[in-house]
Subunit: 474 residues, 2 copies
């Protein structure tokens, strides 16, 4: 699997016409992503140089070893091209091209040939019908479509999907400042499957959390084993779609794979202690808190809000997420009441204290906020917390101060904390989220999601603590 994610050399095979979606465009993206290994464009009907690399007519003509071949070839010639790669000693091949099992019988036959070649020669094949992989640390990206920008942030979340929609050509990964350790799209899974990737990610030191989208599982026993290896070391968040019979039929029609009963999957995910999520949104959002923050050593939750109504909503969300509302310690209550007599409960509603002209905070409402957050996060009865923050265009100039304050408070307290952002201006909200993410503070626009992510983290801690408590440090 290392040849896929950390290749020293890449051959790109396919059309070198300067248009989107071709081997040319993939090469262009790969270069722009900063890949420093050798790149060999391959096309029998082109010669000279493309983007500074000499074009070869075939893999066999390349003078040195090739770790990874990326194919954007017509389906009919793809098996023989992969065969040539295998003969040349190429370790891994990504077949980007569509037109295999998902397209009908003829395509299924071609895909079967790929499987046969992998089994016989030992070359590993990802796809077909995939966008391939991304590894920001090694500057590898096998993306053929047009991209807004490729400044994907290197981070600790591995996103592995069974759909092309999970790539940076379809998702605002750069705009979010989403912390990626690895991405891959398994596509039709002619050879490499979810278990191979899980095995690799279990040992990958850059990956702290694995987020996986699955439509089916190829080999249940292998999957269980690989998933267990992952979960013993890092949380595994799974979106398994095709839960309903209707969806299972839809899935079969586009991947050509058969799906099992959802209850079987559900039991399996429970057994390996994976975190099963229900929506595409959750697949992306839940991992953020797991990636950026330490695990909570319990499920006692506190929330700092600007209005009481939000506190009630958060409390509902907390109970649903398996958390309990923390009972603040007497010491904290006393100190909060010094900030404002209206404080002392959890939810910690600082709105009145911030606006109350009779409180200590008369000069600067952020004083009351800072004290309330500090006291809450440092309460020994609190394991995890969500801080709410309301923003708008006029707050943007204060971001350095606000983000610095939150960073200090959260770092010093050391408990699992995230931030729920709401406000009047979408651009101001996006910008605050990016700045918080750059300080390893997970930011959410959906309060329920922020709270649910803490519930997932607490649940995972509980599992780890039960299995091998020495693994966990607060």
């Amino acid at each position: 699997m290392k040849a896929f994610f950390e290749p020293n050399s890449v051959a790109v095979i396919g059309s070198l016409r300067e248009m989107m979606g071709t081997a040319y465009w993939l090469m262009k993206n790969l270069r722009e992503f900063g890949y420093r290994g050798a790149i060999y464009p391959i096309n029998p009907s082109t010669s000279g140089e493309i983007l500074g690399s000499r074009v070869y007519p075939a893999i066999s003509e390349i003078p040195g070893p090739v770790d990874l071949a990326v194919l954007l070839t017509p389906p009919a010639v793809t098996p023989e091209t992969v065969e040539q790669c295998a003969q040349h000693g190429v370790k891994a091949a990504i077949v980007i091209s569509e037109g295999f099992a998902e397209s009908g019988k003829a395509g299924a036959k071609l895909q079967h040939q790929l499987t046969e070649i992998a089994g016989r020669t030992g070359i590993r094949i990802m796809g077909p019908n995939t966008f391939g992989i991304i590894n920001p640390a090694s500057h590898v990206a096998t993306i053929a479509p047009w991209l807004d920008h490729l400044n994907i942030k290197a981070g600790s979340i591995a996103v592995c999907s069974q759909t092309g929609s999970a790539g940076p050509h379809q998702m605002p990964i750069a705009d979010w400042g989403y912390p990626v350790s690895k991405m891959c799209d398994l596509g039709n899974k002619c050879d490499v499957d979810e278990s191979d990737v899980l095995d690799y990610l279990a040992d990958d030191p850059e990956t702290k959390v694995v987020a996986m989208h699955l439509e089916d599982v190829k080999d249940g026993a292998r999957f269980m084993e690989a998933a267990c290896r992952v979960v013993a070391r890092k949380p595994l968040v799974i979106l398994k779609t095709g839960r309903t019979d209707a969806a299972a039929r839809a899935s079969a029609s586009h991947t050509g794979s058969l799906l099992g009963n959802d209850r079987v999957y559900d039991a399996a995910f429970r057994q390996v202690e994976a975190i099963r999520v229900d929506s595409w949104q959750e697949l992306w959002e839940i991992p953020k808190t797991l990636a950026y923050q330490p695990l909570p050593s319990g499920n006692r939750f506190a929330i700092v809000t600007f209005t009481g109504g939000q506190g009630v909503i958060a409390t509902d969300a907390a109970i649903r997420a398996g958390l309990q509302m923390a009972q603040l310690s007497e010491d904290t209550v006393v100190k909060l009441k010094e900030v404002s007599p209206r404080l002392g409960n959890n939810p910690v509603d600082v709105g009145p204290a911030m606006s109350d002209s009779h409180s200590q905070s008369a000069q600067n409402p952020f004083n009351a906020l800072e004290k309330a957050i500090g006291l809450t996060l440092n309460d020994p009865n609190v394991d995890c917390a969500t801080i709410t923050f309301s923003t708008g265009r006029q707050i943007v100039p204060l971001y350095p101060m606000v983000v610095g304050m939150l960073q200090n408070l959260i770092k010093n307290a050391g408990i699992t904390t995230n931030v729920w952002i709401y406000g009047t201006d979408l651009a101001a909200m996006d910008e605050l989220a990016r700045q918080l993410h750059s300080c390893e503070i997970p930011a959410y626009f959906d309060l329920d999601m922020a709270v649910k992510s803490l519930g997932s983290a607490a649940g995972y801690y509980k599992y780890l603590a039960g299995k091998s408590p020495w693994l966990v440090t607060r």
Copy 2:
């Protein structure tokens, strides 16, 4: 209630210092929102003119009638000030000020005085502890905080909350292009409560959908009656928080009200056929499809996607939302296959057709998309549909073409349709949503939410059709 939402004259009582959160600032916002009725600032220690309006020392000095008084007075003097308003014949008063039942015993006593005044004199009082109301059609907004902008779009959704967070000073209502008919925050409900507002909104011709956030219900019997009146004419979407005991306690601590068992509420909402939602996000998002689109005359759902994986996710969401996957008619299947042999199923995955260079769409991938959407929406077996659209920075120049195409297709087909937007650039996504909303096409960033809103619409149609089928036209 008309005096609250459509006043001919407004008295604004409180500090006229030029700072955020004062009566001055509220007046400023009211003027900027385009209010054309008379505005009377009232402050005993100020004289002359403020923002072009003469300042009066007391309500009794105002020469003409006053429909609405808005109070930002200190709690201690608020009851007597409201009493003076009542004596002067003011019909309605909004008490913006905090410091009543939510703040402790002294505040509760003051609030009780307000209730007594309302009962004795007939003046209606909204609040205390509220942001008040917004009515874009009459250009009325009683907002004291700083606002990014007040260009709230006049539309057909009424949002009534029991928290200040639901206002344009806290939510990106303008940025979303959210279609507002009325907004109000009931606050502590010393007099005006949810039943009063529901009664008014049932008859309000501008309101097509009512979205209501509730922490408690003051009078169950009145509520049921008012809710029934609403639901017979327009859908009522309710977020009732405080579902869990912990949340109910949190709610009591900030509003001073007691909450009933959640199961009682649940049964009541079912009985009146309200659409109960589970999250703050849903409270805002579900109404969009109900407001912009006709009701579906059945629950047969189709989706047009760019990838198969999304189709599977949408199918799961559809079944969860009470929809069924539409079986496309033979005629549609034949015509879809003419567009591309890969088409013919629902989910209608146009991705392969758009990228397939052998299909008719070789010249312009939008041709295949347009045909596939048109055929799907016009299939007699399809009652409602979600169209997915992937965007990025490079697509923005095409928006006039894309939005025009979607507008024509959706309008001509006449079935309930919304759009799920995803993509690589958050600003490009926001912009597309705004443009679609300006054409009455509901846009979502969350696929599950898009599908769930159609489920809610189909459920509401079923109720209406069962009760009085003549009410409904396709």
